[in-house]
């Protein structure tokens, strides 16, 4: 049975824990009265841009040093969640700039009307094919192709096209991501739409046996791939550059498909209704500056939109495949509705 001392001690613990709770409650109510500073520039971005290995921590100090403007970078989850936050706050915008809207969700941003037009300094020097927003709100800052990555140690003869990917030789060997919850997943759906047009449903039916699983996000899908669950995974054409740079390995290679690959272009824009328009414009100009663009390749693992940035040697492992045109926005959104039925059949 319990000795007297431990009995006393546990009584003390129980009381201490309750007291801690009371202190927490009072601290919470006290702190919640403290107002937050409102004059700084607020930038919304997706989480991997903000994370310690992302581009954010590298470029924010450069921006503050160059302009003297105090800015805070806020993560709102994935890029879908960033847009959802803008739409939710439309009546009373909290952000001044948004980073990370791509072509695939442009039409949603368009419909919600949450962005302002601004043409940053230097935009005229950017390749016109990368300037994906015809209304000039989103300024492109980086781009890259989606690709299937191949584990050279687990598979002898990789597929050379989307069509070959559906062959019986690749039964249960492919990991994809769900287009409803992941950016590459949506990119892959667009890929099949661009390559097969109206026949996309038939292609998915033929592809089904090859799919081992479809994960909710890129991270779990790629994680399964690196743990050896399947030799083929949907990712980015630049993924091999990461493995080269961080692990000095060429085990994982990107496959150049005959049909061509869909391109993802990421853009930034000023949020409609900002009270910091002047400073937001300076941030938009900064996005196209050499300092910002030079950090992109090794932190966001995409190609900078400026053509005068020298790419790191590891990028020799990334492929530059033929670009497929983007499918029609209405086709993409109707395919998204139908996809679950099609892919389950």
């Amino acid at each position: 049975m319990h000795c007297h001392n431990s009995h006393r001690f546990s009584t003390f613990l129980a009381r201490a824990v309750c007291a801690l709770g009371l202190v927490t409650i009072s601290l919470l109510s006290l702190l919640s009265c403290a107002a937050k500073a409102k004059d700084e520039l607020v930038i919304y971005a997706y989480d991997s841009f903000v994370s310690e290995w992302g581009t954010g921590p590298l470029v924010m100090p450069l921006f503050e040093k160059a302009t003297g403007i105090k800015a805070s970078l806020v993560s709102r989850g994935d890029s879908g969640a960033v847009l959802a936050a803008l739409i939710e706050e439309k009546a009373k915008p909290q952000a001044d700039v948004v980073v990370g809207i791509d072509q695939y969700i442009l039409f949603q941003a368009d419909r919600a009307d949450v962005l302002e037009t601004y043409l940053p300094k230097g935009i005229e020097d950017i390749d016109p094919s990368l300037r994906f927003d015809p209304k000039g709100r989103l300024c492109p800052y980086d781009y890259g192709h989606f690709a299937i990555i191949w584990d050279t140690q687990a598979l002898q003869a990789p597929p050379r096209s989307l069509a070959e990917l559906a062959l019986p030789a690749y039964k249960g060997k492919l990991i994809l991501m769900d287009p409803r919850s992941s950016t590459p997943g949506l990119g892959f759906l667009a890929w099949t739409l661009s390559a097969y047009g109206k026949d996309w449903e038939a292609y998915w039916r033929s592809l089904k046996p090859s799919i081992l699983t479809i994960s909710s996000g890129w991270d779990s899908g790629y994680g399964l791939f690196v743990s050896g669950e399947a030799p083929l995974v949907l990712s980015y054409a630049t993924s091999p550059a990461y493995h080269r740079w961080a692990e000095q390995s060429d085990r994982y290679q990107a496959l150049d498909f005959a049909e061509g690959h869909p391109l993802q272009i990421e853009g930034a824009a000023i949020v409609k209704g900002t009270r910091n328009r002047k400073n937001a414009e300076r941030f938009m100009d900064f996005i196209l500056s050499k300092e910002f663009q030079a950090e992109i390749p090794l932190s966001n693992w995409m190609y900078p939109v400026r053509s005068d940035i020298e790419l790191p040697p590891a990028y020799s492992r990334a492929i530059r495949p033929k670009t497929l045109p983007l499918p029609d926005a209405s086709l993409l959104s109707s395919a998204l509705e139908l996809w679950q039925d099609v892919a389950s059949r």
Binding site: D47, S51, I214, S220, A246
Partner: protein, 541 residues
């Protein structure tokens, strides 16, 4: 010390005082009001109402709903079937390895879904431990975990220890005399089992079934990853899609309402059958038979299976954490490199900070949850308290983290992140914390506090001097359980963290998002050890 009223396994409904419902309503309102406001705000837009009715009449949504229900019911059934022997054996028999069984049942799976998936695939996947073992005998790689059976296996592994605990505490409360009396009167073992033991365990079995049902119903990433395709989609993913991709508030509201209503029914049934039995009770028996020959054999066999299922994913996470991040082999030579990368290079500062943030956040949110739970149970201490008061405080379990974070965001959005996370985690943990306190209270003799009150002590003093010390065991277990919930949660940090706050779960997700999977596993192991220690403390309390 047994009480005649408990022979039937749970207490008959007493004459509750209306006043006691009041405190129990406080946490209920704190959580439900923002959710209701959020849902009704959504309905102010005419477009939403149109989408809402479209969402409710969509055949696809109902198919998803049907699947969510079906897989959850099947998973819960299997979890109960597997959990029952453990509960039965540890409450009735003494056999070697029992302590071990009890301690592995305390290993909690509060890891973020990503790590659960990596752990399970490293164990049962195509290149997992089991398939590697089989390949030693020339058996080709088998598919264990992709497809419907993958969902079921994953759900069973994460839920059967829970079922064993709930059923075990029902059996531990049963009156041992009736079994012996029946045996003395000549009833055979089988008859005793079916006429006495099974009815005694039934409330426990049902409560375990409905809680597992609820958890599997709200499951999302696990279903998608192991289901092997979009055929297997749960309601939670539908809500996610409607909110993040197609931006249809009406569709999201329709699905959320469907999920909420079903969740309420399940939470109600769980609360109804589990009255007075805490989730965290240790499997401590009243009466033990020494296990006989076949019983011993069965016990050891079962022990092996349970250990295999629980330890498998754990071992695979450990292996991944200690494997060098080399690309040559999956289970490379053991190495501390991942930990060294985390704690001694340039990222050391943020790793330590994340560890500190998680611990501090866990402590603060757990104490907040505990205080709210104590307030909810502040009513007069009576042996046959109003049992529906506890049902009221368990009901918020019906709200999935996704819906809760969306509902609380406008309320908490303007607060500093640490505070909003603290409140969010407290809200997540409150139902179970409250239940733990209630269960502790139900075991106490009310006379002590009444005596203090009649001798002139103020209610506050009676609470501080008598109820609090008597409840210390429940308080500690509620606290530690809430701590674990906070440490393992990722939905809060992803949706509410704004000013650079980064708890462990978020750091793990970010490591994985930046290709650094071995380091994510290493950090996951640290998180698992932290929660494991907390649960070991509960077991010892």
């Amino acid at each position: 010390m047994s009480h005649p009223a408990r022979i039937g396994g749970y207490k008959p409904r007493g004459s509750g005082r209306v006043g006691s419902y009041g405190p129990a309503l406080i946490p209920l309102c704190l959580i439900f009001i923002p959710v209701l406001i959020r849902l009704s705000l959504d309905f102010l837009e005419p477009e939403t109402i149109r989408d809402f009715s479209a969402g409710l009449s969509s055949a696809q949504n109902w198919r998803i709903y049907g699947f969510s229900l079906g897989q959850a019911a099947l998973s819960a059934l299997l979890a109960v079937l597997l959990g029952f022997p453990a509960a039965f054996m540890s409450s009735r028999w003494a056999f070697p390895g029992k302590r071990f069984l009890r301690s592995i049942f305390s290993i909690p799976f509060v890891l973020p879904a990503l790590l659960l998936a990596l752990g399970l695939s490293g164990f049962l996947g195509k290149a997992g431990i089991l398939n590697r073992f089989l390949s030693l005998f020339g058996i080709p790689s088998l598919n264990f975990i992709y497809g419907l059976r993958g969902i079921l296996i994953a759900h069973v592994i994460f839920n059967f220890p829970l079922a064993a605990r709930l059923i075990g505490s029902a059996l531990a409360q049963a009156h041992p005399g009736s079994e012996e009396a029946a045996a003395l009167l000549g009833a055979g073992k089988v008859r005793v089992f079916f006429t006495i033991i099974l009815p005694e365990a039934l409330p426990g079995i049902l409560s375990a079934f409905f809680l597992s049902f609820l958890y599997c119903f709200q499951s999302f990433s696990i279903v998608l990853i192991f289901g092997g395709g979009p055929r297997f989609t749960t309601l939670e993913l539908g809500i996610y899609q409607a909110m993040r991709l197609s931006f249809q508030a009406g569709d999201a509201a329709a699905l959320a309402l469907l999920e909420l209503m079903t969740g309420l029914i399940l939470a109600f049934l769980y609360a109804h059958f589990s009255r007075g039995r805490p989730l965290m009770a240790s499997l401590r028996p009243k009466l033990l038979h020494k296990a006989g020959g076949w019983q011993k054999g069965f016990g050891i066999l079962y022990l092996g299976l349970a250990a295999f299922l629980i330890l498998g994913p754990l071992i695979s996470i450990i292996i991944q954490a200690f494997s060098a991040p080399s690309l040559r082999a999956r289970f490379g030579s053991p190495s501390l490199l991942n930990f060294i990368n985390l704690f001694s290079t340039s990222s050391a500062a943020s790793s330590w900070k994340a560890l500190g943030t998680s611990i501090l956040l866990g402590l603060c949110s757990a104490s907040l949850a505990l205080c709210l739970a104590l307030i909810a149970n502040a009513g007069p201490m009576r042996r046959r308290g109003p049992s529906y008061a506890i049902i009221l405080s368990i009901l918020p379990l019906a709200i999935s983290p996704l819906i809760l974070s969306r509902a609380l965001k406008p309320v908490l959005g303007f607060l500093p992140s640490f505070i909003s996370l603290c409140i969010f985690h407290a809200a997540l943990a409150l139902p179970l914390a409250s239940q733990s306190i209630y269960a502790g209270l139900a075991k106490l003799p009310g006379s002590l506090e009444e005596a203090a009150l009649s001798l002139g002590a103020s209610p506050l003093r009676a609470w501080w001097e008598i109820r609090l010390p008597l409840l210390k065991q429940s308080i500690m277990s509620a606290f530690l359980f809430s701590f674990c919930i906070s440490v393992g949660d990722l939905s809060g940090p992803l949706s509410l963290a704004q000013d650079g706050i980064q708890p462990l779960s978020l750091l793990i997700a970010r490591l994985a998002g930046a290709y650094r999977f071995p380091q994510a596993s290493a950090l996951g192991l640290i998180l698992l050890i932290m929660t494991g220690l907390a649960f070991a403390l509960v077991e010892d309390a």
